[in-house]
Amino acid sequence: MTNTTSVPELLSYTLNVNGRDHQVSDAELGENLLFVLRERLGLRGSKNACEQGECGSCSVLVDGRLECSCTMLAAAATGRQIVTVEGLTPSGDGLSEVQEAFVAEGAVQCGFCTPGLIVSVSDLLDRLPLATELEIREAISGNLCRCTGYGRIIAAVQAAQHARSAREALR
């Protein structure tokens, strides 16, 4: 029997994730960043929900820019600074301001969209700390949530804004 399926070339490369270099060995060229983060580096906080950059569940920061890791080839992300939800999460079992607001305000239901939203909202509040409700809605409109209808998510973002400005006032 002849094998008609061509075996793709296997690649090895380095990815910088959350400030640390990770060696990726013998990966298929077709593996996207999301797959490599999840399956090769064990960083499963980024979620797989649409595989075409529509839902934002796999949101990461690449060189400070919000990206869907499912639409980026992992091998093309070498030499770039990648930050995942794990990189925005305090060690131990604490929560960041944004994470705390999500839990306290009821923005977490099934939670599948939550890590992507944490990345997206953290990015928003860094860029635009005083975002209005409409700006918040626009900023997170690339993150689909099917459970909440977004009401508690908006409330959580606003609570995080308040927490942040209270913290900064104390400085």
Binding site: G45, N48, Q99, C110, Y150, G151, R152
Partner: protein, 767 residues
């Protein structure tokens, strides 16, 4: 039962509080393990080969090209199923693998396990299938008379309701034909699971589902294994909304694991998810309402056709619901309903939030608006005049014995202030219909207001033996609650802890693993039933442990049982001589009790659709405000205000989450969500093409009333709250668009062309 009092003062986290969910932190940190996050050593990846055709005979199937792909460990197809060849919630009419024929696009034909997901997919694609494509049966009305496409025929279920005098007539009558499209549950977490072969010849399956035990029963039958060798363990569930009631790949995955002797994981792509689970039934509905001159309903007639797609799934129960609730939450003395669910070569349909009540609500509420117009009556007044009350008889002959605050939800919504009028000149562009990039002409935007009321049964109906099991263990002052009930995001895990805290007065309540190994069924997380059912079982198990604890103290201290009580986390005596902590009271003993909770029995409907088929009902109302761009047909839902009959709010924050989330799904069906079918083929199986509301599309939801009229017989008086928000929201948005446009709009979703082309044609006629 008198010896158990409740949470003491000062303890936080009991019933009625907006307690934080215990899985919230791990979920926000990205550490919570969903079923797609599982891994095991030496794990393989599975992929299913699916039919690209809605109707075809398979004349040959050659698996050998898949076996030849390096890295492939197993390839299975029809003939490799050792036990029952088919499965199904109501009747097993759905093959594990299609054999001689395929009946819908996406039907599994073969399964591959390989060392890499890309390898598994390539190998599946290499399988050679010869199809003799046949004409698909896709018109549900034609299906009834068409040659059967399955040995069990094309009529999946029929239900008549004949109530009162079918010949009764009113002075005013209105008539209409309505349709609702196929909606997808579109949960975010794709179907996924990990099957691990066990040394005893059985299999352990870690998965996301809505009902572990019913999956277990079906899998065991198909594998030809005794129940105890098939153990299901709940993994993190990324939303459900009905789509995880039916099995999607459970049997195939277990077969691959058992064949290879290795753990096998599967994760559906979004396209596979669209093709691999059941959807909300599309409905075609004809209605005639008759009323007297004062607006009292005299008769409702309806003919309902639900497209069940290729297999039975839960079509009978969905159809019975559609029939039972066909007249809405109104006093209707005479009714004739003719309801049929049919089989077609469209994708299979089954459970989705609202379960048959959504489709008819769109139709009957449109009819109520038409009737109000014909009577020159205020639509809210017409609804109030006919609103069901406790003691009324429904069209099934069942007397409504529980709480029925229908008028209250209507009044709460009607009395709520309206959002500010649009200031078209100062509204930001992104707040106009169409949002960024497709902004409407400001002076061509019209505002509309619509109103709708809906209702639905809670829990399983029509004679089903609906029960749930829960266990309470008290050890060293710590309480552990174990149940196989599925947390899908709604917050049952929080509620179980709240109930236990309420009884024991301790903060420390742990939750055991949800699994079929070691505890009985908790029933399905569907039909808005777990707060009542698992809530009832947890309460009963906790009370049983508390009773035993107090008895043991009475025995040990030789005091009369009646003089002791558990109050605020302490066992105390009336005279103050006994005051023990839980640890002290237990004195080293461990107490464990398992309780089974059943709701009162229900009856099947008779041939005229009469009978006490349901236990309880929940009611809700929505008012929608929309802005419509008359030229482009774009709609912005500006605000939705709602009131809901909840019995009692056990966790207000979680309750709000259910109401907002369910409302958004109803808004989606009203204006954007539709599985587009082209002769049986799904044209939009992706989140690029199947649009669900984003944060910009979803309106703010104002809750004008949580009507807390405790439901007699319900644990803590609480009604399930998951489904009512998804019922009348669609109808209210549609009514608002009608109000803005003056168009009839008898089908949802209302697409831009339904508005823009109709208005353009109307303009043309006028000129």
């Amino acid at each position: 039962m008198t010896t158990v009092l409740t949470t003491g003062p000062g303890l936080r986290g009991g019933l009625g509080e907006s307690v934080r969910r215990p899985d919230g932190g791990p979920k926000a940190r990205g550490e919570f393990a969903f079923s797609s996050d599982l891994e095991a050593e030496d794990m393989l990846w599975a992929h299913l080969l699916r039919s690209p055709h809605p109707s075809a005979a398979i004349s040959s199937l050659d698996l050998s090209p898949a076996f030849a792909v390096p890295g492939v460990a197993a390839v299975l197809a029809a003939g490799d199923v050792p036990g029952r060849q088919s499965f199904g919630l109501d009747y097993p009419d759905q093959p594990v693998f299609a054999g001689k024929v395929v009946r819908h696009v996406g039907e599994p034909i073969a399964a591959v396990a390989a060392d890499h997901p890309i390898t598994a997919r390539r190998a599946a694609e290499a399988i050679a299938v010869t199809y003799e494509v046949t004409e698909p049966l896709t018109d549900p009305e034609a299906a009834m008379e068409a040659p059967p496409i399955h040995e069990r025929g094309n009529v999946l279920f029929h239900q008549d309701i004949v109530h009162g005098d079918p010949g009764a007539t009113g002075e005013v009558s209105v008539e209409g034909s309505y349709a609702t499209a196929m909606q997808d549950q579109a949960f975010l977490g794709p179907e996924s699971a990990l099957a691990v072969p066990a040394g005893d010849g059985g299999v352990d399956l870690y998965l996301a589902t809505q009902w572990l035990h019913v999956d277990r029963d079906q899998i065991a039958a198909c594998l030809g294994l005794p129940l105890d060798l098939v153990r299901l363990h709940l993994s993190g569930v990324g939303g459900a909304f009905g789509a995880r009631e039916d099995m999607s790949m459970q049997v195939q995955l277990c077969l691959l694991a058992m064949r290879t002797g290795r753990p096998v994981k599967i994760v559906f792509s979004r396209e596979e998810s669209f093709l691999g689970h059941v959807h909300r039934h599309p409905a075609r509905m004809w209605y005639r309402h008759s009323a007297d001159a004062d607006g009292n309903l005299v008769k409702v007639e309806a003919k309902l056709i639900l497209d069940g797609g290729a297999y039975l799934s839960s079509s009978p129960a969905v159809l019975q619901n559609a029939a039972c609730f066909a007249a809405g939450p109104y006093r209707v003395p005479n009714a004739v309903v003719d309801a049929t669910a049919v089989r077609t070569n469209n994708p299979p349909c089954g459970a989705m939030r609202g379960f048959g009540a959504v489709q008819v609500c769109f139709a009957y509420e449109t009819q109520m608006d038409k009737l109000a117009a014909a009577l020159r009556m205020d639509p809210v007044e017409l609804r109030l005049r006919n609103a069901l009350r406790t003691g009324d008889t429904m069209i099934t002959g069942q007397v409504l014995s529980g709480a029925a605050p229908v008028a209250e939800v209507i009044r709460a919504v009607a009395a709520a202030p309206l959002p500010a009028e649009p200031g078209p000149s100062d509204a930001p562009e992104i707040a106009l219909p169409g949002g960024a990039g497709r902004t409407a002409e400001r002076d061509r935007v019209r505002r509309g207001i619509g109103f709708a009321v809906g209702f639905k049964n809670l829990m399983y109906s029509a004679g089903f033996d609906d029960f749930t099991t829960a266990r309470c263990r008290l050890e060293e002052g710590r309480v552990t609650i174990t149940s196989a009930a599925v947390e899908v995001g709604q917050g049952l895990v929080t509620l179980m802890q709240q109930i236990a805290r309420h009884i024991f007065g301790v903060a420390d309540v742990s939750l055991g693993e949800a699994t079929t190994a070691g505890i009985g069924s908790a029933g399905s997380t569907s039909a808005s039933r777990q707060t009542w059912m698992t809530g009832g079982a947890v309460e009963a198990a906790c009370r049983a442990v508390a009773e035993r604890l107090v008895s043991s103290v009475a025995q040990r201290l030789e005091r009369p049982l009646a003089s002791l009580r558990l109050d605020g986390g302490r066992v105390c005596s009336d005279d103050g001589a006994v005051d023990l902590s839980l640890v002290g009271a237990a004195s080293g003993q461990v107490f464990e009790e398992t309780a089974v909770y059943r709701h009162p029995p229900t009856e099947e409907l008779d041939e005229k659709g009469q009978g006490n088929a349901h236990v309880s009902f929940a009611f809700g109302a929505h008012r929608a405000v929309v802005d419509v761009d008359l030229d482009l047909g774009l709609v912005r839902v500006v605000d939705v205000t709602t009131a809901q009959d909840v019995g009692r709010a056990l966790n207000p924050l979680q309750l709000i989450g259910q109401i907002e989330g369910g409302t958004a799904q109803g808004v989606g069906l009203a204006v954007m969500e539709e599985i587009v079918l082209d002769r049986g083929t799904v044209r939009n199986p992706s989140f690029t093409d199947y649009i669900i509301p984003t944060a910009l599309d979803s309106p703010p939801v104002t809750i004008a009333g949580l009507i807390e009229e405790p439901e007699p017989g319900a644990p803590h008086g609480a009604k399930g709250a998951g489904e009512p928000p998804a019922i009348s929201s669609t109808a209210a948005v549609a009514a608002a668009i009608r109000d803005a446009t003056g168009l009839e709009l008898a089908r949802v979703p209302i697409r831009p062309q339904d508005i823009a082309l109709a208005l353009a044609a109307f303009e043309e006629d006028r000129q």
